[in-house]
Amino acid sequence: MLKKKPAACFVDNKYCPGCGHGIINRLVAEVLEEMGIYEESIGAIAVGCASLMPETFAVDCIQAQHGRAAAVAAGIKRCRPDKTVFTYQGDGDALAIGFSETMYSAIRNENITVIFVNNSNFGMTGGQMAPTTLENQKTTTTPRGRNIAETGDPLNVINMMKDLNTAYIARGSLTNNANIMKTKKYIRNAFEAQQNSEGFSFIEILSPCTTNWKMDPIKAMEHIEKNVTPVYELGVFVERGEKNA
């Protein structure tokens, strides 16, 4: 099958070679285009590596404050309920400084879609510990490896969210074609849940950060398979399929 690049990806992205953001941007673009909602979509884009997205991703978008993307998106969606509104955030953004805004958007069951990229570190600022950083993982602020006696455990946010009244929650990864296609399906389900006014949808994506992990792209994918996925289980955790509004 010959595949055309989605129109939203109108120029090449600016992420590091081997970074997962490029794949995820492309998946979001493909889903929005295939659903015919690309021209009607509005994105609230996080601070961090995500902030490179507006330059290369052609939908209406707003640069949110660090951590506040879900609140910004909620403000937009409540004013324009007919538009598709999503956030695009990393783990430092959504789970450290923005934990409250992320969780409360889920608690209020805001009819928005959160695309949450988990690469287990603060990428843009040079690879510091994030809430998702694995036990013993070396980062620039855990040079001897993350000591969970001091920092607490890696944060599995889906475990905290799945008992809330939300519409759709899933976690995918990018380690091979099958996982990429599964992740795309999750993203589509999430946007469909929003279209059906089912409420809050949240897709976590395990993604490589080759630069800060200091791994080549293939090693990084192996690392996710071997070390990240056992901590952050893949799959669909909430699927309501009911109209909420």
Binding site: Q63, G75, R78
Partner: protein, 352 residues
Amino acid sequence: MEKQLMKGNEAIAEAVVRAGCKFFAGYPITPQSEILEYLSWRLPEVGGNFVQSESELAGISMVYGAAAAGFRAMTSSSGPGYSLLQEGISYIASAELPCLIINVMRYGSGLGDIFVGQSDYWQAVKNGGHGDYRSIVYAPASVKEASDLVVFGFDKAEEYRNPVTLLSDASISQMMEPVELPEMQEHNPDKFEWSLKGKGEGKARSITSVMYFQEDYDNYIAAKYKNIEKNEQLWEEIETEDAEIILVSYGITSRICNEAVELAREEGIKVGLLRPISLYPYPVRAFQKQKNVKAYISVEMTALAQMAEDVALACKMKQPVYSLAGGMEIFEASDVCNKIKEVIDGKAKEVF
């Protein structure tokens, strides 16, 4: 429209609705909470959105989103809550979006207290947030003026694509006074080319700091605020024509000064009152036109005489500037008169 008796905060909230605002997100804090409570039932009546947010940080972030979508949007807070709004205000200003922020001032730093004060002057007028921006700031001295400035504030916010702050205080917001409410108006969020609505077949919009794409940004942003400073000064003068001593005072404190002017005039002292209505831009033109003035007294409910700095700048320090300051003890007209006499007798100390 008939006059009715209304509490300041409720008149402000009703004026918000009548200005065509369809989005409020905020958090409870005294003495601001009646705005939140009123809008919780009133906004849904007109098809608007009310959100009680989990924090002021989230509230202003939702306002940022709603404003970017082209809607008239606002939040209100007080004291420590107002501090939490500053991050969002800086972002909103950087992206050149219009919105209205209401600060019902209470007294003190930290937790402070819920009674009236004017100690947020520096934060509201000089920039509470980071970077090069200003918020246009209006200070009402009556319930009616508060309600009028809500509508005026939204208009100015859109004219300049800039946040506007209504700097009320616990007295103005909690007192009841007759008010003639503004007419109901509708606002069309699609009338702005820039508002987020989905790109359609056009070019994708990006709401972010304009410094990323504005050519010659430094000069552009400086000129924007110079223009506001030139065109948007607002003030009221009472008996300044022949005044040798001019009280400078805003908000609830200016009403104490009103009475002081009367009392002093009865004793034959030539006193006037200059009441800034816009605190940014500060009404420097009002100072430049004074012919007979020999001294200014900045009268304000702050311990540190915050506004006195602007008085000194506005008169270019050609006249001595004195201050009657304090907030734990609320001064009366007679205290103001005593200060005037101290100044005349050469017993008062200049601020600078």
